[in-house]
Symmetry: C2
Subunit: 202 residues, 2 copies
DNA sequence: CCTTAATGCGAATATCTATTCGCGTTCAAT
DNA sequence: ATTGAACGCGAATAGATATTCGCATTAAGG
C-alpha cells in the first residue's frame, strides 16, 4: 500500500475500492476489469485509487488477501475433526467447496479460472495446509498402524482434482447433476485416501 | 478464414502464421502474443495476416484446430485397448498426458492454463469422447456383470482431475517427483474406476 | 509479352488503459 | 479561526494493440 490512510473517510475508501474490485471482476471478468471501472464502482476517482495502491496489481492482491481471510474463517467454522467417517469428512469438504465457488455471484470462480496470472499462492497454500493438517490428524487417529508417508502428494492431488473439477463443472452449463458429482468426487477421494500406502491392505 | 489462399506461396504463409502463433504463445505467453509479433515471427507483415484471418481469434482457433488433430493422432497411436490391466491402461494414459504437456516447450501448458478464454471446446470434447469410448469398451469387456451406468460422470471427473493436477504440477517448480505423482494419480483413478457402481463389491 | 487479379506490405488509424500531476477541498491540531 | 498536512479529483499523458487501406509486387492465363 502506497500510503497509510489516516482519516476515517479514506480508510472506508480503501475498503470500498477492494470491494469494488471484486464486483468488477465478478461482473465483467478479470480481463475487462479496468482501473476506471473500479474507481467508478467504488464511487471515487482514479486518482484516489493510486493514493493508496501502487498499481492495479496491488489492488487485486489486497482483494485476494481479504478473500483468503474469509476462506480461512469459513474453514475454521467447519467442524470436520468431529467427524469420524472419512467419506463424510470428504463429502462435507466438497460441499463447502461448492458453496464457496457459488458464493459472491461467481467471483471465486473467475479468480480460480485465472489462478495462473494472479498472486494466488497465499490462498493455495492456505487450502493445501489446511487439508494437510486435517488429514494428518485424521490418519494419526484412525490409521495408526500404517502411517501414510506420502500424505503431501496425496493432498496435492486431491485438492487440485476436486477444485478444478468443480470449476469446470460450474463453468459449463449444469450438464451433470451437482449432487451426483459431489457424491462421485467423494467416492473417488475417500477411496483413494483410505488406500494403504503401497501394496495390499493389512 | 477470410479468403482462400489460391497460390502455393500464400498457402505456406497461412501455415507459417499458425505455427508462429504457437511459437509466440509458447515464448511470451498468451497475453503478450500480439499480431505484430506473430507476423514478425512468421516473416510476413501484419497486413498479410488479415488477408486470410478475419481477426486474431481466428488465428488462434486455427492453431487449436491443428493441435487437436495432433492430439487425436497421438491418441490413435496409443494401443491402449490391447492392455488388460486397468491400472496399466490408466498409467499409460497419464504418461502420455505428461509427454503432451511437456512437448512444444510448454505451449500446451499455456493453452490449458488459459482454457477458459480460448475456443477449447473441440479439444476438450475430443479428450472426453476418446476416454469415454475407451472406458466403455474396457468395461464391456471386463465387468460385464455390473455395468457402470454413470460412466460419463466418472470420465468427466477423472479427465479433469488428471489434466489440471498435471498442469498445476508442471506450473510449479518440480516440488514433487513426477514419477511418484504419476503413480499416485494412477492409484487414485484406477481405484475409482474399478469401484462397483453404488454399494459393496459383488 | 501483357493484362488482370491475387498477393503482400507497413505506415496510419482508432481505441483502450494504466498511471501521473497540479489544483482545489477537507480535516485536525493548535 | 488558522494553517499545514492529508485527501480527493479527473483531465492529460504515455504506451500498447488490433485492424484498415492505398499502393507496390507477383503470379498466371491468353
Amino acid at each position: 500500500m502506497r500510503k497509510q490512510p489516516r482519516q476515517k473517510r479514506s480508510r472506508e475508501m480503501v475498503k470500498a475500492l477492494v470491494e469494488a474490485t471484486g464486483q468488477c471482476i465478478q461482473r465483467h471478468g478479470l480481463d475487462d476489469t479496468t482501473t476506471a471501472r473500479i474507481a467508478e464502482q467504488a464511487g471515487v476517482s482514479v486518482g484516489s485509487l493510486y493514493q493508496y495502491f501502487g498499481d492495479k496489481d496491488a489492488l487485486i492482491a489486497a482483494l485476494l488477501d481479504r478473500l483468503a481471510e474469509d476462506i480461512a474463517a469459513g474453514l475454521r467454522r467447519l467442524p470436520l475433526m468431529a467427524v469420524t467417517d472419512l467419506g463424510e469428512m470428504v463429502h462435507r469438504s466438497i460441499r463447502f467447496g461448492f458453496s464457496v465457488l457459488r458464493s459472491r455471484d461467481g467471483l471465486y470462480l473467475e479468480l480460480v479460472r485465472n489462478w495462473h496470472r494472479l498472486p494466488t499462492n497465499r490462498v493455495v497454500d492456505l487450502l493445501q495446509q489446511h487439508f494437510m493438517e486435517l488429514s494428518r490428524l485424521y490418519f494419526l487417529r484412525h490409521y495408526r498402524d500404517y502411517p501414510i508417508e506420502n500424505l503431501e502428494v496425496r493432498v496435492f492431488i486431491v485438492t487440485n482434482s476436486v477444485l478444478f473439477t468443480m470449476v469446470r463443472h460450474v463453468s459449463q452449463g449444469d450438464l451433470i447433476d451437482e449432487e451426483e458429482l459431489a457424491r462421485e468426487l467423494t467416492r473417488m477421494v475417500a477411496g483413494y485416501l483410505g488406500q494403504p500406502p503401497q501394496g495390499d491392505p493389512p
